[in-house]
């Protein structure tokens, strides 16, 4: 039974992947936009740090983050839930033999796999060949991959909460903007946390956002230990999973009552 469920999930992921492929050309344009954003950040940091070792470390940090943004920050709004609430297809989701959380996870997994191949990899390659960022130490590749996957899980749950918000309040624009604000400021995507004042760094490290972006990239650069990263990330994953599971049950129950 469990195996059948996994296959169903993979089927969802595959469909989501194929839906994305239709818009490959759009995504190429989007990648250029993303590179421009990366270039802006890089120029700001080089303007203050100069072409020094610290400057080049900052460039590597920023561009590795930029490539990863499509896996850990820019996920489909509310994991597709707001769209389903808007067009009413959320009702059909309730009839499926698997839960909302499960279905959303695999849909997003397909989307992320697509983003990895067609967004992250091209931006990463561009960063290596044009911007001259450093490759990770071979020993860091596996730790980076593990912490990045953990980061993706954390990011999925945060985006899923935005989706749940749409079930309760219908519109997500405001909360999506709040998410961007928190992501920009607390994830460390656009600034290495070492440049934050200490008190602010402490606040940032007690929120989940830094574990999606800063921690994996710090592992990539050999500045953060794998064990510590994994323990903290998994604590967040467990807390967020329990919250997501509980909220889903509560909200979908209410929705069933509303639907009569």
């Amino acid at each position: 039974m469990e195996v059948i469920y996994i296959f169903r999930g993979l089927e969802l992921a595959k469909k989501s992947f194929e839906r994305n492929r239709v818009y490959l050309l759009n995504h190429i344009v989007n990648n250029i936009g993303s590179i421009v954003f990366g270039y802006i950040n890089v120029r700001i940091w080089l303007a203050v740090l100069g072409n020094s070792k610290e400057g080049m470390e900052a460039v590597t940090y920023l561009m590795v983050n930029q490539a990863g943004l499509w896996l850990v920050m820019f996920l489909p709004y509310g994991c597709y839930l707001p769209k389903k609430v808007y067009d009413g297809s959320i009702a059909y989701e309730m009839l499926r033999p698997y839960g909302l959380l499960y279905g959303s996870f695999f849909e997003i997994a397909g989307h992320i796999f697509y983003n990895f191949l067609f967004r992250s990899i091209p931006i990463f390659l561009f960063s290596i060949f044009v911007m001259g960022i450093s490759l990770p130490n071979p020993h860091q590749i596996l730790p980076y991959s593990i912490t990045l996957i953990n980061g993706i899980l954390i990011s999925f749950f945060i985006n899923y909460f935005i989706g749940l918000w749409s079930i309760k309040f219908l519109s997500i624009n405001g909360v999506q903007m709040l998410y961007y604000f928190a992501g920009t400021l607390f994830s460390g995507a656009f600034i290495h946390l070492k440049y934050y004042p200490d008190f602010f760094k402490d606040i940032v490290m007690s929120l989940p956002f830094a574990y999606t972006t800063y921690v994996p990239t710090a592992v990539y650069q050999g500045q953060f230990g794998l064990i510590e990263a994994c323990i903290k990330q998994w604590l967040w994953i467990i807390v967020l999973f329990i919250t997501a599971y509980t909220l889903t049950n509560r909200l979908t129950k209410n929705m069933a009552i509303q639907g009569g």
Binding site: N26, V36, I40, N173, M177, F190
Partner: protein
């Protein structure tokens, strides 16, 4: 004008219907782009200046551009979502009405939650102005025109990018590249970029002409008084270009038989 007021009232009523959501939307829009600025604050608290520009001066460059963007999203959000009109075929209904299609698209919906963006830009701007020394008080007379120019240039760029949807159907990603990324780039001094990139933002997508160049003069970093004319030159060139591209797009759409 009557049409504008009617649409304005209708939008306000529809948005204020869900008060809590409206409140969250305003807060979200206030903070959404503010995160970028706070990062600049942290950078400049540590490094003091970027290419000779101090924090309060960068705040001014930022706020003039973001103010224009906020007002554009407030009154012209229809261009931002224009691809949905094309993809759904709803643009046809706009063509048969006795009002300009450009005007109708712009005022499809007055997006009140974007006032959060305008307020945020205004707050940063006021903070910056109080701390900046200008070469003359004439800056305070000049500023309203500069802000207006920022709104107009933002709207004109969005018209051009929206019109691309007449040819391509989808244009969301082109907007991210052509508007969002360039807007973000132009909130910092032009000298930090490669010359080609800063020329693009001066002559093709003229955000630097609106904010950076006039401030270069008014903060005493350049003696070239002609920089004061840059926003007006930008509008003078962009207006016919944006109008022509839009008209060509409408013609193409009409003749394709959809």
């Amino acid at each position: 004008m009557g049409l504008f007021v009617t649409l304005f009232k209708a939008s306000l009523k529809s948005e204020a219907q869900y008060k809590f959501d409206f409140f969250v939307n305003i807060i979200g829009n206030f903070l959404g782009l503010f995160g970028d600025f706070i990062i600049v604050v942290f950078i400049l608290m540590r490094f003091k200046s970027i290419d000779g520009w101090q924090l309060h001066e960068v705040a001014l460059i930022y706020s003039i551009i973001e103010f224009g963007f906020g007002v554009y999203r407030f009154i012209g959000n229809g261009f931002n979502k224009f691809e949905t009109l094309i993809l759904s075929g709803k643009f046809d209904t706009l063509l048969i009405r006795p009002a300009s299609s450009l005007f109708q698209v712009m005022l499809q919906k007055v997006d009140f939650k974007r006032l959060g963006m305008v307020l945020q830009a205004a707050a940063v701007g006021i903070w910056g102005i109080q701390r900046t020394t200008f070469i003359s008080n004439s800056f305070y007379f000049y500023l309203p025109f500069q802000l207006l120019a920022s709104v107009i240039i933002n709207i004109e760029i969005s018209i051009i990018l929206a019109a691309i949807a007449f040819w391509t159907g989808k244009n969301e990603d082109i907007i991210i590249l052509g508007h969002y990324s360039t807007l973000s780039a132009s909130t910092y001094p032009a000298t930090i970029y490669h010359k080609i990139f800063s020329h693009i933002l001066t002559f093709i997508i003229p955000f630097f002409a609106v904010s950076y160049y006039p401030l270069l003069y008014f903060t005493g970093k350049s003696q070239n008084g002609l920089y004061m004319l840059a926003p007006f030159l930008g509008i003078l060139i962009m207006t016919p270009i944006s109008y022509t591209i839009w008209t060509l797009g409408v013609k193409r759409y009409s003749s394709s038989g959809t």
